[in-house]
Amino acid sequence: MSAAGMSSIERAELCQTARRVLVDRAPMGRVRALLDDPLGHDPVLYADLVRLGWTGIHVPDASGGSDGLFADVAGVLTELGRAVTATPLVSSAIIAANALVLAPNTVAAATVVPRIVDGTLMATVAFAGPGGHCSAATVGPRWTAGADGGVVIDGEATFVLDAAAADVLVVFAAGEDGIIAAVVDRTDGGITVVPTATLDQTRRPATVRFDRVAVRSEGLLAGPVDGTGLLEATVDIGATAMALDSFGIAEVVVERTADYVKQRFQFGRSIGSFQAIKHRLADAVMLVETSRVAVDNAAAAIDLESPTPSSRERTIAVATAKAYVCDAAVTICGDSLQSHGGIGFTWEHDTHLYLKRAMLNQAMFGVSSWQRRRVADAVLGPIGQTGVNRAG
């Protein structure tokens, strides 16, 4: 693999491998067994994924990674969605690792990221306020100046993915001078992790409480000048990851629904021969094919653009993919439920696992209405200054 990333053949091979590995080691029976598990993921599987190198695909070699592109690892994230895999890979090796790699303070990346890659440590990001939203205006934790150039963090961050499993937290906090980012140990004094169950039981978000948590200056990843940019870049990575996950769900649900309606007979015909079902599935195919290019474009934009602050092109590509694909996946899952009829309404059937995960993807890292307004802001300029800023 070169610094220019994988060839399209290599990427396709990686996806095939990922699909095979997940079918093999994280089949639906395992997924279901973990739904009520307190840890919520399978450490043996995680160790396998580390061995396969997936924790470091897009991490620079200086930090122990394979120096690939985000677009290289994108296919793996899609496969995790297809398999509704419960794993902290996304929260730790994708989102938190990216925040660390992009941080102006490069020391942390040099020490923490290699351990994320080699699997000896897990990390996650914490930033959202009470509503769980992602804008700089609603960051939950607060910071004040501490001793020796450090800071003190108070308050709560909601929807911190896999916080209970994480060793290290990348925390964003708002203060009078702006937003800072810091890296703290989850076991530091003053930090409490309160698990919060969601309808989607394949993920483990938690609320993290900070009670006068002191961070030394070495632990500061970004100061008030760079913090907002780093937050935006982090939310963009998270949003793209959610879109990729939802794309995988959309793709597999269409396949499964098509299989079902071919073999379900009513009125002497397979129900897939009825236009009500057939045309709904044709719409789903259209959503999948358009989602496919949208997520590819977002992943490419993550790689191509200067990561912080968010460029106009990256914003448009990422926000479009997040809103369009995550909405499409919920629609496809709902329509699939409708096409399955009563059987799809049961716990034993897998439809609800896909639907609930698609709903959480849609909600996290920027709801669709917000993402669409980000596109409008990028195109039109902010409200009150609507000079049309045409593309190309």
């Binding site: 939203h133 039981q201 009125f267 409708q338 799809g344 309404f345 049961t346 716990w347 034993e348 609800h352």
Partner: protein, 413 residues
């Protein structure tokens, strides 16, 4: 009551007394904290609460209000029932689920097609609160009754039944089951099916709960192995069960829809507005100050009003012309899809916080006030009671007279 509604629905003045007395009764009877009590209740707790609530309704004459006095009812007129169900919903009354089948499905069939002896035998039991279940659907007979495979073979003075039913709510508690079974294998499609009352304690009846997609055991599968049903339990003519089953789709169900509309108004729309007052946009501003949200809420608010109006119109037509007809299919599609859109909107508006899992509220139907869960559960309304696809066929064919689909060669007629 809104004056605009009064112009179409039951006249305000005439029914003010009933309305006020139901309202007072609700205030005095419904435990204000029942939702909190029922949140996360187990099946036993649910059934116990339901029985308690049924007894309260029965005391007040609200359990079978439309029945003749000779069978224990109070002979409420259709507009009076509308007032009753509106006020119960307004008072946030729990949903009475356990006797849904006995009162709204079994009783109309028995009243319509049962012999005097059968009425004497079954109606007082239903009036006293007996729980029934309904064995119509089968794994291969969902939308298409032609796929019905449960067989009932006559043997002297009884029938022997073998087969499997699905989606039988309350099967564990039910004492009786209204059952469709095939009595003539050679007859086409809807012919050759008979309508029975089956004692659920009969040897050979086995019930297995099915967990639904939000984790509740709402339904059961029911297996029948050589179950003996006395011939006197046949309702209506042998092989004439399809027509009997259609009698269960009468005005009672239209009136029940009135309650649903009021529930959607109170528990869906109004609770949404109350809840959303505390929600914020991603930039931290109140959601109710956002023009896009307001526009959406203005539209949905109007559509819920329209639901109430269209139901009132349907009931008015029932009063004058009898028989809900295909219009009921129109209302079913509109209700279920409006519910689904409203719940999806609320769920998405709430954002990540709306995805938090809380234990369900028993006795609440879809209206748990957890909008994400209620959105998922809303598919029971677009799928159940005849899928909306089947409903659209009915509207196209019976309202507009469009041709049916051609039948595949060799398909059962």
């Amino acid at each position: 009551m809104d004056a605009t509604i009064a112009a179409i629905g039951p006249d305000g003045g005439e029914f003010d007394e009933l309305r006020n007395s139901v309202r007072r009764w609700c205030a005095a009877t419904i435990p204000p904290d029942w939702r909190e009590q029922q949140r996360g209740a187990d099946h036993h707790g649910y059934i116990e609460f339901q029985r308690w609530w049924r007894d309260r309704l029965a005391e007040a004459g609200y359990f079978i209000p439309h029945w003749p006095r000779e069978w224990g009812g109070v002979e409420m007129s259709l507009p009076e029932q509308v007032v009753l169900y509106e006020e119960l919903s307004r008072g946030d009354a729990p949903r009475l689920g356990i006797t849904q089948v006995s009162v709204f499905n079994a009783a109309p069939a028995i009243i319509h097609a049962g012999s005097p002896a059968q009425k004497q035998r079954y109606l007082p039991a239903i009036a006293s609160g007996e729980i029934w279940c309904q064995g119509f659907s089968e794994p291969n007979a969902g939308s298409d009754l032609a796929g019905l495979q449960t067989r009932a073979v006559r043997d002297g003075d009884h029938y022997v039944v073998n087969g499997q039913k699905i989606w039988t709510s309350m099967a564990r508690e039910a004492e009786q089951c209204i059952l469709l079974a095939r009595t003539d294998l050679d007859a086409p499609k809807n012919k050759g099916i008979s309508f029975f009352v089956m004692d659920m304690r009969s040897p050979g009846v086995e019930v297995r709960p099915i967990k639904n997609l939000v984790g509740d055991s709402e339904f059961c599968e029911t297996f029948m192995t050589d179950v003996v049903i006395p011939a006197e339990n046949l309702i209506g003519p042998e092989h004439g069960g399809w027509a009997v089953s259609q009698a269960t789709l009468g005005s009672e169900r239209a009136v029940a829809l009135i309650g649903l509309a009021e529930l959607l108004r109170r528990n869906g729309r109004d609770f949404l507005l109350t809840a959303a007052a505390a929600w914020t946009m991603p930039d931290g501003s109140p959601v109710l100050d956002d023009s896009a949200v307001r526009e959406a809420i203005g539209g949905l608010y109007g559509e819920v009003e329209i639901l109430r109006l269209v139901l009132t119109r349907m009931v008015t037509n029932l009063l004058h012309h009898g028989g809900a007809g295909p219009e009921a299919s129109v209302v079913k599609i509109y209700y279920s899809e409006l519910l689904q859109r409203l719940m999806r909107f609320a769920s998405e508006l709430h954002g990540p916080a709306g995805q938090l899992l809380r234990p369900g509220v028993s006795s609440s139907g879809w209206e748990t006030h957890d909008f994400a869960r209620d959105f998922i559960h809303s598919y029971s309304w677009t799928i159940g009671g005849g899928t909306n696809e089947i409903m659209r066929n009915i509207v196209g064919e019976q309202v507009l007279g469009l041709a049916r689909e051609p039948r595949p060669e060799g398909a059962r007629r």
